[in-house]
């Protein structure tokens, strides 16, 4: 840093002038608890998300027990069932997937991958986590509140969400849910500002946007989308809270509940739906885009080949991000909104399929003539492609307005969105954890446990959600704790439901192997070394593994190339790290 040219100085933003002192926290508390190190915050975010995610997993077992064996478990009343589905959905979508991808992976990977020492505003970043934790605690508190958590369905549609006919509607459940969401959004905005601005301002020398790994592109775009979309949920939640607590009629029309006229009047439930889905659809891509980015890097690294069509991949991410703001009403084809909207939203929805398809093609074309190492991360990446293609294609049914009419609100929808934004992103999360665990801990995860975990999870999840489409085709509506007998069904779905439930339980328990592996390998895993996958991106080039606070020792890395120089003809090895000046100074870097 001493011989830094003036130009370099200008390129490093003033806040970043590396006082290495800054990165040596003084006490145990500031190192591990109130830490401002993005990597520690990432682990805190991930740990919290996984912990609350496990609650949601258990809820899914309870739901499946009811659906697979209706009437067997007397404690699962319809009220309880609706509480399970609501909390399961909300936790999985917001508190697990969003928090894990952006708060977890975003925090860990962005600074490392762009060569920064930390997020640009570490203090705000820390606050972000603590507010998130508070949101999770408020959410969890609703399980213990009188009346239990809300059972309004994760979409929280008024009027039923705040009425007595729905569990939690006239007790604490819905209030705690709305407050928790509001807190989450405030916390996320703090974190999101960091992720976005770190990518814009915190990149190291030579790290142009087009040299960034797709992981960073995915998380960056998703963050920007989330920053713009979450306010819609915020507005919806605040207005609903007003309706529930202060008696306004933003969303509440005149209605008669159980023979009694309520004092509400004139409001519009559809208005809530517009606000909710204006957030809700981008939310799908807020979860999907980081997954797209990460999986691109997994495939490229483990196939030892550059990602095919990098530019197209970047453009597709950005275009999907932009388009996803004008497709929201495809969730509302049968909501009673003006039917002419159907033409517009069906068209935009199907247009978005094109850039998404391009991404899929480029993933499989990256495999073509690659040198495919079937490591556990790679296996999960392949499983992602299978489940994502499956779920994405069923999206073409539901996006095409007239086909949606018979299918909407049936189990087909449930199967579709679980496949595309449940299973597929979670495959990526698993792949990513197997991939980056060595960097985070310095040890490899145990391979055989990983393979076992993979096969049970992949085959099991497919066995859960593929047949579920057919339950929907038969005509079984979603959110039914039991279907019972119905003359229209071409075949009873009892056996199929029981099969799905068993598969769900098996897959659920396989996750325990994964959790055990995480803990076991921390102590007994094979030593990983700095770059076990022989990858090019910057996070693998840190001077120490695991990277300390401040990441880079005395000097930030300088970037000479894009993130995908695998198997370059003439190069001494089948990968060239981004900070390697080859061919100027021939690099013979032992992995």
């Amino acid at each position: 840093m001493v011989d830094a040219t003036p130009r370099m100085e200008r390129d490093i933003p003033p806040a970043e002038v590396p006082e290495l002192e800054l990165y040596h926290p003084k006490s145990w508390w500031t190192t591990y608890v109130f830490s401002q190190d993005a990597k520690v915050i990432a682990i805190q975010y991930s740990g919290t998300a996984v912990a609350i995610g496990l609650v949601a997993l258990v809820l899914s077992w309870l739901m499946r027990l009811q659906l697979g064996f209706p009437g067997t478990f007397s404690f699962i009343t319809p009220e309880a069932y609706y509480q399970f589905i609501t909390m399961h959905g909300m936790i999985m979508v917001i508190y697990l997937l969003t928090a894990l991808f952006l708060g977890g992976f975003g925090n860990y990977l962005i600074p490392l991958m762009v060569g920064a020492r930390d997020m640009v505003f570490p203090y705000v970043n820390m606050l972000s986590f603590w507010i998130y934790l508070l949101a999770v605690l408020v959410l969890a508190a609703s399980f213990f509140a009188p009346g239990g958590p809300t059972g309004a369905g994760w979409t929280l549609y008024p009027p039923q969400a705040i009425l007595g006919g729905t569990p939690g509607g006239q007790s604490w459940g819905i209030i705690l849910m709305l407050v928790s969401l509001i807190l989450f959004i405030i916390g996320f905005t703090m974190g999101g500002l960091n992720y976005a601005v770190t990518v814009i301002q915190g990149r190291t020398r030579g790290m142009t946007l087009m040299r960034m790994p797709l992981t960073v592109w995915g998380i960056f775009t998703a963050t920007v989308m989330a920053l713009l979309a979450f306010p819609a949920l915020f507005v919806a939640c605040v207005m609903m809270l007003f309706d529930r607590v202060l008696g306004t009629s933003f969303f509440m029309p005149a209605l008669v509940e159980m023979g009694e006229q309520l004092s509400y009047g004139g409001g519009s439930p559809i208005l809530f739906q517009h606000l909710f889905w204006f957030f809700g659809h981008p939310e799908v891509y807020i979860v999907a885009l980081p997954a797209f980015g990460i999986v691109s890097d997994l495939i490229s690294t483990h196939a030892r080949k550059n990602i095919f069509g990098y530019r197209m991949m970047v453009w597709a991410i950005v275009i999907i991000g932009a388009l996803s703001f004008i497709v929201w009403a495809h969730h509302m084809y049968v909501s009673g909104m003006h039917p002419w909207f159907g033409f517009f939203f069906a068209t935009t929805t199907l247009i978005i399929a094109v850039p998404t398809a391009i991404k899929v093609y480029n993933w499989v074309l990256t495999l073509w003539r690659g040198d495919i190492h079937l490591t556990v991360p790679m296996l999960f990446a392949l499983a992602f492609i299978v489940t994502f293609v499956n779920g994405g294609l069923t999206g073409l049914f539901l996006g095409n307005v007239v086909v949606d009419v018979p299918l909407s609100d049936t189990m087909f929808v449930v199967a579709h969105f679980h496949m595309v934004m449940g299973v597929a992103p979670i495959m990526v999360i698993f792949g990513a954890i197997y991939h980056w665990y060595p960097k985070i801990t310095g040890r490899m995860l145990e391979d055989w446990m990983g393979k076992f975990h993979f096969w049970v999870t992949f085959v099991g999840a497919y066995a859960i959600f593929f047949p579920m489409h057919y339950v929907g085709l038969v005509g079984v509506p979603r959110r039914y704790p039991e279907m019972g007998e119905a003359a229209f069904m071409t075949a009873p779905v009892d056996n199929l439901n029981a099969f799905i439930s068993v598969a769900a339980l098996v897959v659920g328990f396989a996750q325990m192997v994964f959790l055990f592996n995480l803990v076991w390998s921390l102590r007994f895993g094979k030593e990983a070394g700095p770059n076990p996958w022989r990858a090019t991106s910057l996070e693998w080039q840190t001077p120490t593994t695991p990277p300390p606070h401040g990441n880079w020792g005395d000097e930030r890395p300088v970037v000479y190339r894009w993130a995908y120089d695998y198997s370059v003809p003439g190069a001494p090895e089948d990968f060239i790290p981004q900070n390697d000046p080859w061919p100027d100074k021939p690099a013979t870097r032992a992995a």
Binding site: R7, R10, D11, P14, A15, E16, V120, F121, T189, G192, L193, V197, I200, Q201, G202, R203, R205, G206, T208, L209, M210, R211, L227, L228, P231, F234, V235, V238, M239, F242, L246, G247, T248, S249, F250, S263, G265, G266, G267, S268, L271, H274, L275, F278, N306, Y310, R311, V314, V318, A322, F325, I326, Y560, R561, W562, Y564, D565, P581, P583, D584
Partner: protein, 235 residues
Amino acid sequence: MSVILVFLTVVIGFSFWWLFHQKVMEKPWLEHGVHTALPETDVSGMPTAKVALAVFLAVVGSLFALFASAYFMRMDYADWQAPPLPRILWVNTVILILASIALSCAVRAAREHRREMTRLALVTAGLATFVFLAGQVTAWRELAAGGHYLDVNPANGFFYLMTGVHGLHILGGLVALGRTMVKAWDDDVAAEQLRLGVELCAAYWHFLLFVWLGVFVLLAGWAGDLLALCRQILT
């Protein structure tokens, strides 16, 4: 949802413009070495805090655009009955404009390294803002005294909600302004650092003034009239 879509079109348009200046059409695998990337197209020379404020203001803008969208959509229903506009809002608007002007003066003074003047301008802005907030509370009381409670009509609901959320943002700004004042009185703080703080405050105030003018137009009912006029012209 038209307001938020217009707002997003602007934000996304700007983002694309920015991306196009970041060589997103280039083929990165053909570039080697550091210097192909430098200098202008790499990390911007703008202070990080300013970039962050810009991003944050986009979020705030999105929030208010959504409130406005909800306002317009709710307005179309039959029970809508706008409350009378408290007169004091005119005074408040003028005061908030004064606060913004004071902060502009503060920026100017900070750029010219005139500490005393900067302090004076900051204090003026802070006081004016407090008066604005007090005025907003007075407006609430005036409405409530007239029987226009929150739950009587959704138009009242929007009035309290939007002025309230705007007021909260102003309060948050006052915290930042307070910290800047501390800097202004601390002679150890470098002029450059103070200038940045003042500039950030000014930008935030201008933006919130802009938002307030939007909210004011909305609550006064002119926006609705304008919309009706547009519709008439179109049909």
